[in-house]
């Protein structure tokens, strides 16, 4: 490729990236502005200060929310990985009567929107007395049809000979699962893990429903809280909260990107 074309392509990429990221960049910019800048619709803050950040941490328990989000997202990630990998292992390797039918049933649940079942799920959770506890925020998400599907597809690509060789070596089914299948599929486990962490982190409606006080409230609800307390009109403060909320996810993506790339090249066996 000649340099002229490369330059053009990079210029286009840069512009599209700028457009795509504008809301986030602007949020970062606003989070450093004082009230006057915001009111004048300035693009960049006239003076640079951390006042908004100080204020947001003092007006709502932001760290507490962050901790809750972190706990909930981690628990859901671990739960989903455990349930999905076990189920996918059975669907991929252990034949039994009606297995394929069962798998189709699992897949079919993908077609039911989560919102459609939310009321009944809420009633169940309420009945169990889980409201305002981590259980309500995590356990309903442990079984993920998408995760089962993703992992099963990957497990299917494991050469069956590996499974048979392990059988001859005398591994039990469960040993094959964690000593052969899981290490072999490390990359798709990481992918699913990141996916479930991020979706859980960004979840809004359900946490709003099942929490009535701050004890286990997550960061997304916390942001909403910002608008109800007196700082609602101070956009700089709200944006500071937003930046704090998205920072962990950005960091996660940056770290995992490296990991994912490494994994993609490593996993290739000839």
């Amino acid at each position: 490729m000649n340099t002229g074309r490369t330059t053009l392509i990079y210029a286009l990429l840069f512009i599209s990236a700028l457009i795509l990221f504008f809301p986030i960049l602007y949020a970062v910019s606003v989070s450093f502005m004082d009230g006057k800048d915001v009111f004048n619709r300035a693009l960049l803050p006239s003076s640079f200060s951390f006042d908004n950040y100080k204020k947001v941490f003092s007006s709502v328990p932001l760290l507490h929310y962050l901790k809750n989000s972190f706990v909930v997202s981690s628990l859901v990630t671990i739960g989903q990985l455990t349930v999905a990998s076990l189920a996918a292992y059975v669907f991929a390797f252990i034949p039994f009567k009606g297995r394929d039918f069962l798998f189709i049933v699992v897949l079919a649940t993908l077609m039911i929107p989560w919102e459609a079942t939310m009321i009944s799920n809420f009633l169940t959770v309420q009945h169990l007395g889980w409201v305002n506890s981590y259980r309500a925020l995590t356990i309903p998400f442990f079984a993920s049809a998408f995760g089962i599907f993703l992992l099963r597809q990957h497990f299917k690509s494991i050469p069956y000979e590996l499974y048979e060789a392990a059988q001859i070596e005398g591994l039990t089914r469960f040993q094959i699962f964690y000593r052969v299948v899981l290490p072999y599929s490390r990359m798709s486990l990481v992918t699913l893990g990141i996916y479930s962490f991020l979706t859980t982190w960004n979840m809004y409606l359900w946490p709003l429903l099942v929490t009535t006080n701050d004890s286990v409230r997550t960061i997304q609800i916390g942001l909403k809280q910002l608008q109800t307390v007196e700082v609602a009109t101070e956009w700089g403060v709200v944006m500071a909260g937003v930046v704090v909320a998205i920072l962990p996810t950005l960091i996660l993506i940056f770290i995992s990107q490296k990991q994912l790339q490494k994994g993609l090249t490593q996993g290739a066996l000839k």
């Binding site: 000979e161 590996l162 048979e164 001859i168 005398g170 591994l171 052969v180 290490p183 072999y184």
Partner: protein, 370 residues
């Protein structure tokens, strides 16, 4: 060491047809036993039943005198080498070799010792820290073999282990596997569709076709005394030449090209069945006045130490193998002679041997040629 006895072992996948049917054989301890046959004849299925990876539909398998039909794979004291080697990509060569030993809770020192020994034996010492993807095909094959060596299982099963290698490496690994088997004294059951591997490696060969055993015997028995047309054609390269033939005035005639005088005993054996004539390429010589073939040369392949001639007999292409280098031109007429003593005659319908060099009455034959 234990004997492997199969008694009327059968396998059906769809309950309608047999993938393997009524296999009866006993394999002696320390024997190199080769299963050979064309693709889809049931070799892998049979091997996998021996390994316990596939259920036996009917019949019985016993290992060392004990019924083993339902024994799980790891209780059968076997090791297995797969066509694609089945190495764990996330483990290093060393860990791959040790994998089974760890599971069997063999002490760390013993594991190390066995791995060292096997690695030296197979020339893998320099590669122990690498991952399988950083090895060549031949090296991966050796890792798979090393796994067998360290397991010290008395029985080893191999399913076409050399089919992913190039011809030269295959020749080399053939010798290595054979040596390894003799050195360790293990019983080897080896699946291949390559008749050269079967001939050169096996103590005994079992030829399979459509799930049925055709013949079991030493390589030379199979080569010299095939029981039917299928075995005769399958073993040998180039394969045995075949042509439909008939008896006219006491002579065996195939098309316009071939005509041979037969002995009385052969004629008696043939009676009035329809027959196929078979002759191996190395038994067709330059014209010497006997068993004449008159035809046109179709093609000449000079292989350095021998020359392959192709020609037509009764609308089938035959090949003759002559030692040395023969500069002949394709398209020219040629006269050849057939070793009368080397002729095979098969029943055209049952494909069984009617007459072969080994069931001829040699005394009568002597009288006839006088």
């Amino acid at each position: 060491m234990r004997e492997i006895v199969l008694d009327k072992v059968s396998k059906t996948y769809d309950k309608q047809s047999f993938a393997v049917e009524d296999v009866e054989v006993s394999i002696r301890p320390g024997e190199f036993f080769v299963l050979v046959g064309p693709s889809g004849c049931g070799k892998s299925t049979l091997l996998r039943m021996l390994a316990g990876l596939e259920e036996i539909s009917a019949g019985s398998l016993s290992l060392g005198g004990k019924l083993a039909n339902h024994l799980p794979p790891n209780k059968r004291e076997i090791s297995m080498v797969f066509q694609n080697y089945a190495l764990y990509p996330h483990l290093s060569v060393e860990e791959n070799i040790m994998f089974g030993l760890k599971v069997r809770k063999i002490s760390k020192q013993e594991r190390k010792r066995r791995v060292q020994e096997a690695a030296t034996m197979l020339g893998l010492s320099d590669y122990l820290k690498r991952k399988p993807r950083e090895l060549s095909g031949g090296q991966r094959q050796r890792v798979a073999l090393a796994r067998t060596v360290v397991s010290q299982a008395p029985i080893c099963l191999m399913d076409e282990p050399l089919s992913n290698l190039d011809a030269q490496l295959r020749g080399q690994m053939r010798v290595e596997i054979r040596q390894l088997q003799q050195q360790l004294g293990m019983t080897m059951i080896y699946v291949t569709h390559d008749q050269v591997e079967a001939m050169t490696m096996g103590d005994r060969i079992m030829v399979l076709r459509d799930g049925k055993v055709q013949q079991i015997g030493t390589p030379l028995e199979i080569y010299n005394q095939p029981v039917n047309k299928f075995v005769a054609e399958f073993i040998g390269s180039p394969p045995m030449n075949m042509a439909r033939a008939s008896i006219i005035d006491g002579r065996l005639v195939a098309g316009n090209e071939l005509s041979i005088k037969l002995s009385q005993s052969d004629l008696a054996k043939i009676g009035n069945r329809s027959i196929t004539l078979g002759i191996r390429p190395e038994h067709i010589h330059q014209a010497n006045g006997q068993g004449r073939v008159r035809t046109t040369l179709l093609n000449v392949e000079i292989l350095g130490n021998e020359t392959l001639l192709a020609f037509n007999v009764n609308n089938t292409i035959w090949k003759a193998k002559w030692p040395g280098q023969w500069q002949l031109t394709a398209g020219s007429p040629i006269e050849l002679s057939i070793d009368r003593e080397q002729i095979f005659i098969f029943d055209e319908i049952s494909e069984e041997v009617v007459s072969s060099p080994f069931n001829k009455d040699t005394v009568l034959e002597g009288v006839q040629t006088l």
